[in-house]
Amino acid sequence: MTLLDNILFIGKGITLTMELMFGGMLMGLILGTVLAIGKYKGWLVILINQTISIIRGTPMILQLSFFYFAIPNALNIKLSILSAGIITLGLNSSAYIAEILRAGIESLPKGQFEAAQTLQIPTWLMWKDIILPQVIRNVFPALTNEMITLLKDTALISTLGGMDLMRRAQSVAAEQFTYFAPICIAASYYYVLILLIEYVVQKIEQRGEYAQTS
């Protein structure tokens, strides 16, 4: 196989890597938002804090094994590598996203909640249209970091045999008894993807810029 063949073969892993990243990010955002808002409902706080603590307190590779081997084994079901990957990445990032959003919510003036209350805005509309749009703008850089971390974490799927960028690079290396070129090719793919994310985020930030004070 020529260098070009290797580049193309490893490049095919982008599909799985991106599926895992976008799937994980989407699940992380939805679940993270629910966890962050749930923290403002008195009786849920202990449960949510404990869930976040467990997720943050265990290695992701262990969580991956838990969802790919342990849960299917206990429930006698079968999960694909992609599903187990998305669930693990989504759940894991939801704990971090919840904390990022919580910090963003707490940084907003209390008056924003009170203004919504005095204007009789229903609670869910207050979160959807008043609070979260401001919070997301404020924590956008932190969410970008989380997305980049998530992209790099997708490489863990290679330990289950998922044919992502990392696994394909390892596969080429094992077949050709040379590590340098395949690993460098995979690294280049990851780096270009991260540069792309940074570029898109920068454009979004420029469009959504506004002064914080009202």
């Binding site: 924003q112 203004a115 204007l119 914080q212």
Partner: protein, 221 residues
């Protein structure tokens, strides 16, 4: 219209308001004066139900709207969106946008309709905040320090604006440490001292409102 009976409020074990009683008739304008920490803002917040009272009752007919000292406009929405967002969701009538433009025109802000709050001056924000309250068609308007941080000319604008609102038969309770401003707009001034009603003055009975009130105020503190 608005009736406060034996209102008391504590933060932890400290009493912030003690045994406050007064009534305001429809269309009345009551000024709440007093030093910093006397309980003016807390009393307003209690009337708006932003704080729970520990004793007594607060009753009023209709709805109330609250104008915050620091405006609390929604920074990600334009001036126009700030005005129409809540009434559109609540009243669900199609005239909301028309009313908002009319109000902005009245307040001299029509050309700022599609501007973000961060791009307008303090006086303009004040007017937007007032317009946002009026869009909710309140029976009672509660204003917390409406002249705080404004220059003399802008304070004059606020006086005129509040007089326009008064003409709409909206009852008002205004908390301010600015006695000159209060005597120009309020028909009655209640002075608070350490959470207690220290004086209740009918402005129309004063021969020289500003100076008489200052004497009353000094005596009550």
């Amino acid at each position: 219209m608005l009736k406060l009976v034996n209102v008391g409020k504590k933060f932890a074990k400290t009493a912030i308001l003690k045994n406050i009683n007064f009534n305001v008739t429809k269309g009345g304008i009551v000024g709440l004066a007093g030093a910093s920490g006397s309980g003016k803002s807390t009393l307003l917040r209690c009337i708006q139900k932003l704080e729970r009272i520990d004793e007594g009752t607060i009753e009023y007919t209709g709805t109330s709207s609250f104008m915050f000292q620091d405006f609390q406009l929604f920074p990600h929405m334009t001036v126009f969106e700030n005005l129409v967002y809540a009434p559109k969701k609540i009243f669900k009538n199609t005239n909301v946008e028309k009313e908002a433009f009319h109000l902005l025109e009245q307040l001299g802000l029509k050309n700022k309709a599609h501007t973000l709050p961060s791009k307008i001056s303090g006086g303009q924000k004040q007017r937007v905040a007032l317009a946002r309250c009026l869009m909710m068609k309140p029976n009672i308007l509660l204003c917390d320090e409406p002249t705080s941080g404004l220059d003399v000319a802008t304070i004059e604008d606020v006086v005129q604006l509040l007089r326009t609102v008064h003409a709409m038969e909206v009852t008002m309770v205004i908390a301010s440490h600015d006695l000159d401003f209060l005597t120009r707009i309020a028909t009655r001034i209640i002075v608070l001292k350490n959470g207690i009603k220290a004086a209740d003055i009918d402005v129309s009975e004063l021969s020289d409102p500003i100076n008489n009130l200052k004497v009353h105020y000094q005596e009550s503190l």
